[in-house]
Point group: C2
Chain length 346, copies 2
């Protein structure tokens, strides 16, 4: 594998035909890119230039989209049409409208595209480097029938509820835990973006589209997922992050009440994603689990956990657990995807 | 993918050039094979015939070894030399002597072999269809450093100790649980074959050879693993399975004592495999775990669980759990391997 191009929102670096980019030692690439004399290319121009390199080098090209940008995601059909593979942790393309998702599939399935052999891998969109997408793919491709997928899919939500509602119970305030999580950098700059549940809804969209029975279930993508926002009604219009956090204690009583109810039932609260294939339910929201359930006992830190119940894996499910966010484990998923592309196309 | 040949210890079926085998509907293949007029071919002859088919069909051939036979395993270098890929749940080739294992690698790495493109996949040798080998491969290939692998790797041992030493404690006798397990078909015909720990030692051998720092650690393969046999000293010479089981109650007191010691420490007993890379320890044996440890709380039935502690996945490990034995989940791993071969070579 050679790196032949790098682009961020400001600058571009391109290798000359037949060569790889000179990026210096570990980590120096950032500066090399910043000092490039070439302004960032508009995406149509970038595709054109990469196609020329492909024609000259006679080697397969893979695009790694490490942004979380809608604009780049909307360009996937063009990349694929040009014959480029894609490896990405960007959830936008696969969790948006069914129309855009179908356009990607449709492009990939055109005979003249298939001939160029582009592949699309997205392991890190759910659970970062954890083997989640690949496991679901293997279950489906080998003829298993998925019955239910259930999991703690957001590292931020995991941390918040592991602290707020541990198996042994707690009296800590919800607002205090969110504030600490924000200070530690576990949340988005505005914690409301995590508490909305849309990150979990996006991951559920990606997973459900890999299940044949649900491939067309969510016309508007993550917006079609039944999602419980944890932002209190009184804060829904609060756009300023600092004010949002400052006012959160006003609503602690609501969260205390939910926790007390769970504790009275010897249960904990977890914010989970649920896909029930038979009932065609796809939902993101708070759920209570008995204190001896894996989601209560086994989780810690900002771990993700996901449980696949299938015709083969039942009554006991297949479980995958571990860190589901962070630069290193996300990069692992992307590089493993790139390796799979290299094994199949170079 | 086409099936072009089937062979068991008695009979062989071969397709004519350009055709696939006619195997009837689901499940009928067994009878079709049994009624074949062709006696099972000696392996050298089989390779020769398959090579002719490969030359005529101009298509890549994969051998699926669904035996647990040493003789077939010892033939892998010949398959690979002929350019055939291998997908197998058979542990014998990869857990035997380092010499044989190295011969397989050496053959695969000869320039004239590489050109033919054979691939070797063995997901189902550890944990059946659970993503264990592929996860370890991805960790290593993306540059992570494995620190420790620890797991309940035998479905039989899992069942026995989940029953004998649950988190809430138990007074059931070891011999009684083994007897029930045998009646349910969870053990080998002679439970002594499970209690010897050699199945776990074989799996540890396979895993450790995928870790660069330990690639050459076990010259005699599974025999070099530090393995604790659970067969009581007084039964080591008992070869008759029925007598073995009948005499097991004589030794219940030994097991009661170990359990009492664990329970006094608020712990459970589990038969685990352990690979400590830094200390270069590779061991199969009984270990006690606190009652709130995942190996105590989360396991049930005959589940396998495996925990990868790495530079990236620490202090909290990456965990994979689920059914680790049985025809369906084993077949899943083999078919997923075949799919990967098909994606890369057909």
């Amino acid at each position: 594998m050679h790196v032949i191009g790098l682009q961020n929102s400001k600058k571009t670096l391109l290798a000359s035909p037949g060569n790889r980019l000179a990026l210096g030692k570990n980590g120096e690439w950032k500066q090399v890119l910043a000092e490039s004399s070439m302004e960032a290319l508009p995406l149509p121009k970038l595709v054109e230039v990469l196609q020329q390199l492909q024609d000259q080098n006679k080697r397969h090209i893979a695009v790694v989209d490490n942004t979380s940008d809608d604009g780049v995601a909307s360009f996937y059909p063009k990349f694929i049409q040009a014959g480029f593979s894609i490896a990405t942790p960007n959830k936008k393309a696969f969790s948006g409208s069914l129309e855009h998702y179908s356009a990607i599939l449709h492009t990939a399935l055109q005979p003249e595209t298939i001939q160029k052999g582009p592949l699309v891998y997205q392991e890190s969109t759910v659970g970062a480097g954890l083997p989640i997408i690949s496991t679901l793919d293997d279950l489906v491709i080998t003829g298993d029938r998925i019955k239910k997928i259930e999991g703690v899919l957001s590292g931020t939500m995991s941390y918040i509820f592991n602290e707020f509602s541990p198996p042994q119970g707690s009296t800590r305030k919800f607002s205090e835990i969110v504030t600490v999580a924000r200070e530690k950098g576990y949340t988005e700059p505005n914690p409301g973006d995590d508490l909305s549940g849309s990150d979990v809804a996006r991951k559920l969209t990606i997973l459900s589209r890999l299940i044949p029975d649900l491939a067309n279930a969510l016309p508007e993508g993550f917006k079609s997922v039944d999602t419980q926002s944890l932002t209190p009604a009184g804060l829904l219009d609060e756009k300023d992050a600092d004010t949002y956090v400052k006012r959160l204690p006003e609503f602690d009583a609501e969260f205390d009440e939910m926790r007390a109810k769970a504790q009275a039932n010897n249960s904990v609260l977890r914010y989970v994603g649920l896909i029930d294939v038979e009932k065609k339910v796809i939902r993101a929201g708070l759920q209570s689990y008995p204190v001896d359930h894996a989601f209560a006992t086994s989780l810690g830190g900002s771990d993700n956990i996901i449980s696949f119940s299938t015709e083969r894996y039942s009554p006991r499910p297949l479980l995958v657990q571990g860190a589901g966010a962070g630069a290193e484990v996300t990069a692992m998923g992307v590089v493993a995807d790139l390796t799979r592309i290299a094994q199949r196309r170079f």
